[in-house]
């Protein structure tokens, strides 16, 4: 395909949807007053409902059925796929890794984001300091993975190290390490990338919450002789508690579905796989549709309670 072809297709696609919306508007444009509301309302939501029904609901229901079928998707096998996930030794490592990711990332990222937000609050260079930490949010997980793969790069002892982390070890007199090869620590080094990305998100939300703490409350506490760590413990933390919960749950939802980092840095090898990565491998590489579907359903089930809690907290804090 030439570039002209590609851009032609692009403009055609955009045009097509704009025309569809224009036609919808034209078709109901003549219907005035309050009586036609039912028709107008249904026509307005029709494109959305059609897209969601075909592209989201139907596939999701089908996947739930698939999760009870065998690798080729032909015959029912009951709960065999789920039983496999909870008994097979490789799958158990996948589950273990997912648990480590989902527990560690939110707390560490939120902790760093919170400390940083407090320390730079009202500093003269605050907005620059924030931008620095927030910038990784703009970078794709793939880009971030490549950046960190370079930090972890390994050369045998004696050779010139080109990865910063191993060079620091060598400077300190230790032997260079294969950071991404040695289980189970390699999972932690992958998690560092996610923390690097998510801390900026935590910092931005928490910083806004800290600025919302009423000035007279801080003033009153100070008159009572509350400063420093105690101010942080007894005034700051209780005041921003709702935001803290939202940040923690939001990051854990993102982390639960993490795929790009594992895929790019290790491909799931060396015991680093997580559910989302295993879903991809089983569904689209190993050709095991049943197991792939079961992993997707498991992800769905795990995410529900966190999302529900998250939405309720958001409502409460709004």
């Amino acid at each position: 395909m030439s570039y002209v072809d590609k851009f032609g297709q692009m403009f055609f696609a955009i045009g097509l949807f704009v025309v569809i919306v224009a036609l919808v508007l034209l078709a109901v444009g003549r219907i005035g007053g309050f009586r036609g509301d039912r028709i107008v309302g249904r026509t307005f939501v029709a494109p959305t409902l059609i897209m969601l029904a075909i592209g989201l609901i139907y596939p999701a229901v089908l996947t739930i059925f698939q999760s009870f079928k065998d690798a080729s998707g032909n015959s029912f096998v009951g709960l065999a796929n789920f039983k496999f996930i909870f008994t097979d030794s490789d799958e158990l490592i996948t589950l273990r890794n997912t648990a480590i990711w989902t527990l560690l990332t939110p707390f560490v990222a939120t902790f760093i984001g919170l400390i940083y937000a407090v320390l730079i609050d009202r500093a003269r260079i605050e907005s620059y300091a924030k931008a620095l930490i927030f910038l990784p949010m703009a970078i794709s997980f793939v880009g971030a993975s490549v950046i960190w793969k370079f930090v972890y790069d390994y050369r045998p002892p004696g050779a010139h190290q080109i990865g910063l982390l191993n060079q620091i070890l060598v400077w300190l007199g230790f032997a260079p390490q294969q950071w991404l090869l040695n289980d189970p620590l390699n999972t932690l080094f992958l998690i560092v990338v996610m923390i690097w990305i998510q801390s900026g998100f935590a910092m931005t939300l928490l910083s806004a919450a800290i600025k919302n703490i009423p000035e007279d409350m801080i003033e009153a506490a100070r008159l009572d002789g509350v400063y420093g760590i105690r101010m942080f413990r007894y005034i700051t933390i209780p005041s921003i508690r709702p935001t803290l919960v939202v940040v923690l749950t939001t990051i854990s939802i993102t982390t639960l579905k993490v795929f790009d980092i594992v895929r790019t840095m290790t491909g799931g090898s060396f015991n680093t796989s997580v559910i989302a990565n295993d879903f991809y491998s089983q569904s689209f590489r190993a050709g095991n549709q049943g197991l792939g579907a079961a992993l997707a359903v498991l992800l769905f089930v795990l995410v529900i309670p966190i999302v529900v809690y998250n939405v309720r907290q958001m409502r409460a804090s709004a």
Binding site: M1, Q9, M10, A13, I14, F17, V18, L25, V28, G32, D37, R38, V40, G41, V45, P47, T48, M51, L56, P59, T63, I64, Y116, L119, R122, S127, A131, F134, L135, A138, S140, V142, G143, S145, V146, K149, F150, H160, I162, G163, F201, T204, L205, S207, A208, E215, R222, Y227, M231, T254, D260, T264, A276, S283, L295, A296, L299, F300, V303, V307
Partner: protein, 303 residues
């Protein structure tokens, strides 16, 4: 950023600024400042190291660490190489074009379709409205993984496999619940009197939507537009599943991930490749920081 430093210059605010400065002195010790600086450095060095590397000669990259390379010699040869040589079926120039071609419709389609639905859910009375809106809202919970195998089979049946349509439609569909939720939040806050006045003047829903709501919706459209732009531009999973097999349509992220998988030590290709992939979002970030943050926060639970 969402908030700014307290304004200075007026007498009233000056006192606040002074007490703020006093608080600050009490809150932060030299150790605390040191810690903040340490985090800032730690957060910047990885990106900086790869950026320096991307401008070094291939032979220098393999022979010495980037921290020794500040003296040069510098070169843009690596960028030329990765842009113009075949990397798994096409060049990075092609992948860059593919990313643009994928991203724009995947942002505009859900915005147009979603704005229409959000308006109807907020301002038109029809039976089943509340129920349908709750359904759309609840669909945000579905992880995209759950839809992928059947969706791929649908695309194959419809003859769309291997075309941009697979990626456009998938991204648009996955974006709709959140898009409608955000736009609805915004649109339902328009004062009722404004809507009623327009209707008394004889405006029907089409005119109301086009001439009253769309202009008011602009900030929400921009915020969600930026979020969706980043989401699609930086996405790996959707592109890998639906476009992964066709070099004609696969985007930068997939190309970069493939390169990391097949030529994991070819840093003279990986470093410039990574910066080509992240350049546009980073420039967007630097130039539109405020909108960017707002957009990102608006859609942070997606996926």
């Amino acid at each position: 950023m969402t908030t700014s430093a307290p304004p200075v210059g007026l007498p009233a605010t000056q006192t606040i600024a002074v007490t703020a400065a006093a608080t600050k002195k009490k809150l932060t010790s030299p150790w605390a400042s040191l810690f903040a600086i340490l985090i800032a450095i730690l957060w910047t060095i990885p990106t900086f190291g790869l950026l320096v590397t991307s401008f070094r000669k291939p032979i220098d990259i393999t022979r010495s660490g980037w921290w020794t390379g500040f003296g040069g010699p510098w070169t843009i040869e690596n960028y030329k190489t990765v842009l113009n040589t075949n990397q798994g079926g096409a060049t990075f120039k092609d992948f860059f074009v593919n990313t643009i071609v994928i991203t724009l419709p995947a942002v505009i389609i859900p915005l147009t379709v979603g704005a229409l639905a959000a308006y109807a859910f907020a301002w038109i009375e029809f039976r089943g409205r509340a129920f349908l809106f709750v359904c759309v809202f609840a669909l945000q919970i579905v992880p995209i993984q759950v839809t992928m195998i059947p969706l791929l089979q649908l695309y194959v049946k419809a003859g769309l496999a291997g075309t941009f349509w697979t990626v456009w439609l998938s991204h648009s569909i996955f974006a709709l619940p959140l898009c409608i939720f955000i736009l609805h939040n915004f649109i339902s806050q328009v004062p009722r009197e404004l809507v009623e006045a327009a209707r008394v003047d004889g405006a029907n829903h089409v005119r109301l939507f086009l001439s009253v709501m769309l202009p008011l919706l602009r900030p929400a459209l921009v915020a969600f537009g930026i979020f969706q732009f980043l989401w699609v531009w930086n996405d790996l999973l959707v592109a890998l599943v639906f476009a992964g097999g066709s070099p004609d349509i696969l985007p930068l992220t997939v190309a970069l991930a493939n390169l990391a998988g097949t030529r994991g030590t070819a840093w003279y290709l990986l470093a410039p490749g990574a910066f080509i992939a992240i350049a546009v979002p980073v420039i967007l970030f630097i130039s539109l920081q405020r909108f960017f943050v707002r957009g990102l926060l608006a859609g942070s639970v997606k996926g």
